[in-house]
Structure formats: structure tokens, C-alpha cells
Symmetry: C2
Subunit: 278 residues, 2 copies
DNA sequence: GGCGCCGATACCAGGTGGGTATCGTTGCAG
DNA sequence: CTGCAACGATACCCACCTGGTATCGGCGCC
């Protein structure tokens, strides 16, 4: 029914699928199944566009009311069940401007929910998701996603952080190969290999071990090291950022354990998705 | 939600499962999942019995209203979609007294539905279900059930039909082995093998080919043959029925294609189940 | 007349929802 | 007090369904 309403409101299967965070074929199939159950076409498909049939119009009204009713039931029962808690994990890099907007939006939409924030170091990009320390991780891909569901909130190009007096600092674009002789910083032992490899530009490197964004900057300033970071990061005056041309962009994502039954997760993810869309 | 309401009304997982036509373990699991989603226990389980928690009481009210709403939506949309048709297949043996009661009950509950009856011969116990000739088959098990969903409506002991002047006709119980030297009637080539084997008492036999109940009786009367039939069948005065002790009973069943989207099927099956319960 | 948009189709994989078999607890009866 | 019956929970398995990717077909539009 939610699928049907989405298509009826967009009058376009592709856009509706995007809105529902799924792909178009299963959506087409789902609508077709609903039509089979009802025994009547709900949409008139023409290559020029999709229109509601009379039956579809009736169902749209009914479906909206019913879904509304279902949402109200959920709210009332949740209220009866008492205050609930959701724990959000964020990477040490808590400076992301989307975050504060998100927290505010979620508190507004679900005032009774107790939000807990768990700030973790860079060695675990999942912020302790697998250990059950958090319900949702707001973090950066890539990392090992087995057992997790991941939704991308934003993508950022990645650059290299250098001292302003570095010969490369005045370039307006660099390739990974031009940095091969540099020291890179390392994450601690046991760090997610996908994550480690990404921030190392694809190969193991030599360099100091770091656990937090601050340590990374320190390493660049004092240790003759160099570091990768998403563009847009605030930097002290002594450091500069040069975009990397051949580095896949970094994605800000929300992740949660696949099949987690906590109903707050779904609503939080919805809020997060819209908050990051501005 | 329907599961929850059933358990809440029965206050007993086993009985609720029976009412829902499923077994108890998946029901327990489903309720537990719902509890996990809500984040609160809905039932207080004690070995002496099951009681609703306060949250459960709230949900029971809400759920009833919501399910009610959903049913109303279905009715309204079905009405908007216009008159629908359901085709019922019955075996030539249309004399079953449950049938007329069932037809009347269904016409009463869904007056706008167009019911079509398709009377088929004994060679296809599924009445053309797989070929899509009917939506539901009211027939007798056993037969090959792959791809079909089957619900038992009643079970009948099986007896052997003999001429009254047959030496065995005065016995009040027989074993299959005592009939091994008789001619049995056969169904046409291509008949479902499970079905054929059942009515042959488990082995291939010699005898005339029949396609309808009338032909079976004719065969017994004139051909020195013998036939199996569920007890309770009306017989002409020249024929007698003797119960078979070691024959598994015959089940009157409703069958439909697994996953068939026609929404009338579900309601028809419900009606059928209650109509046969008397 | 070809290209592009868009919904439909074909096919594949993993999660879910059913099933059966069995267990652990508890109340009750002998 | 001990054996048993009742009942919900658990373990495990299989089939279906839902969501995914790749591709097709049909119609508008340069």
C-alpha cells in the first residue's frame, strides 16, 4: 500500500522507487501484484505518463487513511510502551554540520525518544555497531558491510592534507601516484581492512598510528606525514588541502545491523536521509 | 497483528494457532517479533496461562480497530473494482451434502460475487486447478499436491462397494488383502498417480476404465468389479458398502494454486472451513 | 530513422515465514 | 515425591517472496 501511494503521488515508477529507496522493477511488480489482488488496474500506463484509474483514485484515498491509521497506532502503542532509547554512534570527526541539524530534526519529530550519542575513534568505522554498542552508526564508507545495512547520505570528494610549506600544497589537483613516497598515518591493529586500505590509497604504508582526527592533523604538522580527508574539513592555518583526482569519493553513511527489530531505527534513518538532503 | 489479536482473544498459543490454521512455534515467534518491535512484552506468560500486559491491552484495542479499517478498505475497493468471479471445481461426485450448504453460505456472505461451478470427471482430482480452469477445487485427497495449497475439510472412512449378493457383502469389516483377487476399476491414462494408487488400494489392478461415479456403480453392478468409496455415499438397493479396516481415510479438501492472488479464494476457503464444521 | 526514456520481463540471491521435532518448566496425580 | 501431561520456547529446515541487476520493448522526439 505504501508503494502504491508513492507511485500514485509521483505518477512515475522510477521516481517513486527512488523515494522508497528501492529499484524500479520490484516496485512495478509489487504494484502489479496489488492490482491482481484487487482484480482491477490501478494505473493507466502510457509511454507518455502514468495516470490513476477510477479504482486507483478510490484506493488512494482509502490507502492514505489506512496508512495514517497505522502510523497513529504505532505512535500510541509506542507511547504506552514507555520511553525508548536510540544510541547513535559517530566517528571522532563529530564536526560534520549535517549532524546537529539531524539531531535537532529527530528530537523535534520524536520528542519522547531518548537519544544517546557515542563518539568513537577512527579505528572502528562502524562505531561498535556489531558489538551492539550503538543502534545506528553515522560514519563514512567504505568498510566491511557484511551483516549491516548501509544507506548513503552524502558523498564528498577526498583530498590530501599537507603543510602549507609543502611543495605540493599549491597544486590544485593531485594523483595518488604522486604521493607514493610519503609517510601515511596508520590505524591501530585490528582496524577494518577495507577502511584502512581506502584511507591508505589502496596499499599498506609506513607511518605513525592515529586514533582521532586531531591526531591525524598533529601527525601532518609534526611528523612529515601526509593524510587524506574529505574536502570541506576545517583546517588550521598551517595546513592545506589539495583535491585528489583519482581517489573514489568518500560517502557519509548511516549503518545499522541487518534485521535489527528496534523500530526507532527506521524513523531515525528517514529523518537522517531528509536532513542530509538539506 | 492478526496473529496477536488471535492470541489475545484465545489467551492460549496453541488454540490461537489452530484458529489461524498454522502451528504453534511460528506463532510464538511472530508474537515475539512484534514484542521486539514495540519494545515491550505484550503477554505475561505463566505456565498456568497467558495474560495481556497493559501494553498488550492498548494494542488489542488499536489492532482491532486497524484490522477493521483494513477490512473495510478491502470491501470498498473491491466494490469499486466491480463484480468479481470465482470458479469452483467439484468432482463428478457432486452429491456431497456439505456442498449445497457451502454454496448458500458463500452467496449469503458475498452476494455480489459471481460463483461458477465446474463439474469434472474422476480422472483429475484437482478439477483443472493447474490448468487455471478453476480457482478452487473442492475434491478428495490424496493427489499430487506440488504447487497447490490444500486444506482438509472433513475425513471419511473408506469402504468397498459390492453387490448385495456378494459373499463378502454381509461382513461388517474387511481388509485390503481379502480383496486382492478382485477386479478394480481404473482411471484413464494420465490420471494423477497418487490418486490412482490410493483408490486402487496401493497396487496396479485390472479392470474397466471409469470417469464418473455413475460409471463406477455400473461397473460394480454389471462387470463383476468392486470399488472403493467413502462411507456415507448413497447407493442403489442392489449395492452394499463394507468398511475397510486398513485403508487410510479419505479427506474432503479444498485446494488452490499456491500463491494465487485472487482475494476471493481466501474468503471462500474461510467459508468452506466453517460450513464443513457444521 | 535512430536514440533515449520508461515501464516490463527474466533471472538470481538472501531473508522471512512457514513446517517438524524436541526441550524445559510447572502443575497435578498417584 | 515422582512421573506425567500440558504448554510455550528453541533448534533446525525448506520453500517462497522480496529486492537486486541486466535487459527488453514500445513509443516519443529530435
Amino acid at each position: 500500500m505504501r508503494y502504491f501511494v508513492a507511485v500514485a503521488e509521483e505518477l512515475h515508477f522510477g521516481r517513486a522507487a527512488t523515494r522508497l529507496h528501492m529499484s524500479q522493477p520490484p516496485l512495478s511488480r509489487a504494484v502489479k501484484q496489488l492490482e491482481a489482488e484487487i482484480g482491477a488496474l490501478l494505473f493507466a500506463r502510457s509511454p507518455t505518463g502514468v495516470t490513476l484509474t477510477p479504482v486507483g483514485t478510490v484506493l488512494l484515498d482509502e490507502a492514505r487513511a489506512l496508512l495514517d491509521h497505522a502510523d497513529r497506532v504505532q505512535v500510541r502503542v509506542s507511547a504506552a510502551a514507555g520511553a525508548a532509547t536510540i544510541t547513535i554512534g559517530i566517528l571522532g570527526d563529530g564536526a560534520d554540520p549535517g549532524l546537529s541539524r539531524l539531531a535537532a530534526a529527530y528530537r523535534r519529530s520524536r520528542p519522547s525518544i531518548d537519544i544517546r550519542i557515542r563518539d568513537t575513534d577512527l579505528s572502528d568505522p562502524t562505531c561498535g555497531l556489531r558489538a551492539g554498542l550503538v543502534d545506528v552508526a553515522l560514519t563514512r564508507a567504505p568498510f566491511d558491510e557484511t551483516g549491516l545495512t548501509v544507506r548513503t547520505l552524502r558523498t564528498d570528494p577526498v583530498g590530501v592534507v599537507l603543510r602549507v610549506d609543502d611543495p605540493l600544497a599549491r597544486r590544485d589537483g593531485l594523483r595518488l601516484a604522486e604521493l607514493s613516497d610519503r609517510r601515511w598515518f596508520q590505524f591501530p591493529q585490528g582496524t577494518d581492512p577495507v577502511w584502512q586500505s581506502y584511507w591508505n590509497g589502496g596499499r599498506p604504508r609506513e607511518g605513525p598510528v592515529v586514533r582521532a582526527v586531531q591526531e591525524c592533523l598533529q601527525a601532518v604538522l609534526w611528523n612529515g606525514t601526509m593524510g587524506l580527508a574529505p574536502l570541506g574539513h576545517d583546517l588550521p592555518a598551517e595546513l592545506a588541502m589539495v583535491p585528489l583526482i583519482d581517489m573514489p569519493p568518500s560517502r557519509v553513511v548511516a549503518a545499522w545491523n541487518k534485521g535489527d527489530a528496534n523500530p526507532l531505527i527506521r524513523s531515525f534513518i528517514e529523518t537522517a536521509t531528509t536532513a542530509y538532503r538539506h
